[in-house]
Symmetry: C2
Subunit: 581 residues, 2 copies
């Protein structure tokens, strides 16, 4: 089963031949790190994949208990230094670049996304504290997470405030100052808290968004009034903080990750320390959000990727039917049937396309502090990476069920669980609809600078391809799609009021496919170069080239279809009254 994880050939190709990260990380060191990742994922994460779907988290009087093998797996993950890998040495880390950590994480997400979610959240939490917290906060709350002894959560949503954080009602009242900074007492309820409680780590560090009331006890309106607080489950003096688990959410998938409703301050108020200045909560959270959204995309890509690998195995092993037009003779493996090959090509184009997109953005994370263009491009591509990987990773999972036929619909095969697990990804960390508004509003209509950087990159790639006899026409097709994107943007700029946003999701879809087409062309160029240099085997190279060709032939034409309602000024959505439903 372990060869159902990420293909190492593909990962090496993407990291070295395509993204050329050898200046960022020592190649031998990285290879050893990825070897270890694959082994640990296969040995400790994969075996309890099904079990953690069946043995859901349970809430008892002493808290939440999760599926038994999750704890030992994460203990090894901690002991081998995976929590700390991406942190600076100053904080006890190994200083690996983000892209190396992302490549490693792909193995764990492919093997068991629900188990992998605990370190993902913990690392994001610790990184936020190391970025914005005081020295004593880092020492007290970040370092134990970097060691993997404590885990972390992000507490944003409330029952009445999911996508709309402006409506948060959790309140934080000042309660003096101590060596950890300004202390507050928090009261409120938080919803959808992944890892909100568990019986694995010694302590849990909650990062909680809340508002500080004014002198009259009123909470400030909107997002500018939001601050960020560190609220540990167990206080530094060893006593329990005033917070409790009100309930567990029973999910369709992703079940190994305990998802909790948390009550803060049913007694005197939960003790929390503010991070940085008041009113900076959302800004702090969103500065970390790029990484979190890329991680969600990467997880979704990994789930799609694994389902593709399982599909290929199944399609090679399962005999059924004969080539069209032939009767008699032995049945053939279903991989020989054209429609199965079509599905495998679609899956491969989605899974490898999404992985490439996520790793491209991971590289931008490493470059963003020193390169303004990379930072701009990262901002533009983040909603695309999160959404495209989620939507098309899921599409790859759907195809996997279809390739497995009736068997894929049973729990004897894992493709149905992979599908259920992945269905969360277009929802959490900002739904697809929210990402569309972010892309169109904040990242394009408000400021075209990032778009210009992307256009440069696309043109550079196309120009390189034009000189290749067999890639030239694809370069033209990419530029044509890009031209349509620009025409749509012009159209959207001309929309009255907020009506452009009625098309935001469709625009995101078209934009995403264009971006992935560009990256496929770029992968094809790298594959050709590798072939000319005599590297990699012919099947691998051909796999990249055929999948690239499939994507341009079959997927890229969708861009025009999705932009059609924008360019034709379709108004069904804006005109429709709600009473018609």
């Amino acid at each position: 089963m372990s060869n159902s994880l990420i293909s190492r050939n593909d990962l090496d190709f993407l990291l070295h031949d395509w993204l050329k990260i050898d200046d960022l990380a020592d190649r031998d060191l990285l290879a050893a790190f990825l070897d270890l990742s694959e082994k640990l994922a296969a040995d400790q994460f994969l075996p309890h994949y099904r079990q953690s779907d069946i043995d859901e988290p349970e809430l008892t009087a002493d808290g939440v208990h999760v599926c038994a093998p999750i704890g030992p797996a994460l203990k090894q993950y901690a002991d081998l230094g995976f929590f700390s890998a991406g942190f600076e040495e100053l904080h006890g880390g190994s200083g690996l670049p983000f892209i190396a950590c992302a490549a490693s994480f792909a193995y764990f997400a492919a093997a068991n996304i629900a188990t992998a979610a605990y370190p993902m959240l913990t690392v994001a939490n610790a990184r936020l504290i190391t970025t914005f917290g005081s020295a004593s906060q880092i020492e007290t709350f970040a370092l134990p997470q970097i060691e993997g002894r404590w885990f972390g959560t992000m507490c944003l949503s409330e029952t009445q405030a999911g996508s709309s954080l402006a409506d948060l009602q959790t309140r934080a009242v000042p309660d003096g100052t101590d060596e950890l900074g300004s202390r507050f007492r928090l009261t409120g309820n938080k919803m959808w808290i992944s890892g909100g409680d568990q019986d694995i780590s010694e302590n849990i560090v909650h990062l909680v968004l809340a508002k500080v009331p004014d002198a009259q006890g009123r909470l400030p309106e909107g997002t500018p009034g939001i601050s960020l607080f560190i609220v540990p489950k167990i206080l530094p003096d060893g006593t329990r903080n005033d917070l409790s688990v009100a309930g567990l959410n029973h999910k369709m998938g992703y079940r190994g990750t305990a998802n909790c409703v948390l009550n803060f301050g049913e007694g005197d108020g939960a003790v929390g320390w503010i991070v940085g200045e008041p009113g900076q909560g959302l800004r702090q959270m969103f500065l970390m959000m790029n990484e979190a959204r890329i991680s969600v995309g990467l997880g979704a890509a990994a789930l799609g990727y694994r389902s593709h690998r399982l599909s290929v195995q199944y399609a090679r092993e399962r005999s059924q039917g004969r080539p069209i037009g032939e009767r008699g003779g032995a049945p053939v493996a279903i991989i020989e049937h054209a429609d199965v090959k079509r599905m495998l090509l679609a899956q491969k184009s989605y899974a490898e396309g999404a992985l490439a997109l996520c790793l491209y953005c991971a590289r931008l994370v490493d470059l963003e502090t020193t390169d303004a263009d990379s930072a701009a491009l990262l901002g533009l591509l983040t909603p695309v990476t999160k959404t495209w990987s989620s939507e098309y990773g899921l599409a790859a999972n759907d195809i996997a069920i279809q390739i497995h036929g009736g068997y894929g619909y049973t729990r004897d095969f894992q493709v149905e669980q992979l599908w259920r697990d992945n269905r969360l990804n277009p929802i959490h960390e900002g739904t697809t609809g929210i990402q569309g508004i972010d892309l169109l509003g904040r990242k394009i209509l408000r400021d075209g600078q990032a778009l210009a950087v992307l256009e440069q990159a696309i043109r550079r790639c196309s120009e390189a391809a034009v000189h290749d006899a067999s890639l030239g026409r694809f370069a033209d097709e990419l530029l044509d799609a890009w031209g349509q994107i620009n025409a749509a943007i012009d159209c959207l700029r001309g929309c009255e009021g907020s009506s452009a946003f009625a098309h935001a999701t469709l625009f995101l879809r078209a934009f995403g496919h264009t971006v992935v087409a560009w990256l496929w062309l770029d992968q094809a160029l790298a594959a050709r170069k590798l072939a000319e240099a005599g590297g990699a085997d012919a099947d691998f190279i051909d796999g990249k080239l055929m999948t690239f060709q499939y994507f341009f032939e079959t997927e890229l034409p969708n861009v025009a279809a999705w932009l059609a309602p924008i360019l034709s000024k379709g108004n069904a959505v804006t005109t429709a009254r709600t009473a018609i439903f």
Copy 2:
């Protein structure tokens, strides 16, 4: 919750204003029948929807036990005459047309597809026996099913023979003749048998495809050697037949329907009587397949439909966020957000589009025996109806989860179960890939007559629309799409060997969207007429017209995209070697 079932306004509109079935069935009688259907579905099928997902069928020493409320619900279904409704009076039925039964079935499928599957299979089984069986077979095996005392199954697949029935290995050896006809002894294993065993009905009538060996004991090759046998669980003399349940399949959804592996003839061979002549099995089964495939499409449409109705309710009740550009003030219901409205329009266009398509074909079933054009059109549209409804019913379920956000991912809401349940429909009764080959090969490339009938119907509709100022441009768009379909067919006719079939699924997708666009235009014409006549309320009419407009603006452009690889002679699928994966 019962208003989450099929909209009666919509059903009345489709049956009377659009399809004008008043010549087929007495309107008052039909209204009473549909009233009763809705009430029984709401009172007896809907309440155990979740329970039947949790309490899966269990196999014990005395057979399969299903979720407790399924039996009583189906007892009432039988007592009220729903099993018999569509049969001739001669066979104890009420002689209702197929379309009336289909409209009734939509309620039950929407309320609880897994419970509704038992009568669906039973009715199909009894109809096959009444069509092809002898008088004594009808008397003995069909009538108790028409009364709803016995249930029926269809035993086609085997472990090694799913889509490829030519490879069946179940053998039937002659064993004399009695008053029920030629008797055989059957040995073999059958897979994926829905309702293969249960503890509800007094007996179970299995219709089994098997092969009769030649003098040397060899089974005939291919499909011409397949015969059909009636194999009851309990023999007419009251003894148990030689068949047993080898196991249950544990499915992702649709769980209330026990899905069994059956072993026939572990002892002396299961006793069965042949239906009609030897070698006619597949032909007999496929003559019934039109109805079965329309029923699958209808079930899928109903699941999508219900998830749309639940989404509308949720979107009206859930407050979150504010219109784009506004800050402060109270949150609005999410149905006010453009992207939610877009999703609801897409859902409505899929759910109501699929229901319309299924009912259109159900009407053709009633006409096919007397009208050659209707028969041809039915053959052409059957793979489309089965597939489009399955794929887009499921898409409506997917959107329902997205509209519900995180809540939709929990088992506290039913949209996740509806999604899981519906995922079976693109697989059983012929996968989407199989339907594509059927449409392109058998129904189009082999003989263009049905295509000419469809073209006539599309042209008639377009001509009617051209005279309507606001519909005229849509008529042009429909004819344009139809022109692209024809261009693609020309292209596919020119393909070498079997390479056309590499595009069969994409062609089916494009063809399906064009057919549904035509039916939406036809619905829009009916809605306009109804409005002119002063019938129906303005919101209902507007709902039809806006959804029609949405479909043309946003969905119809996909046809060109899906046909692009055909028209550009894309060859990635045919060129790709299997070693590249």
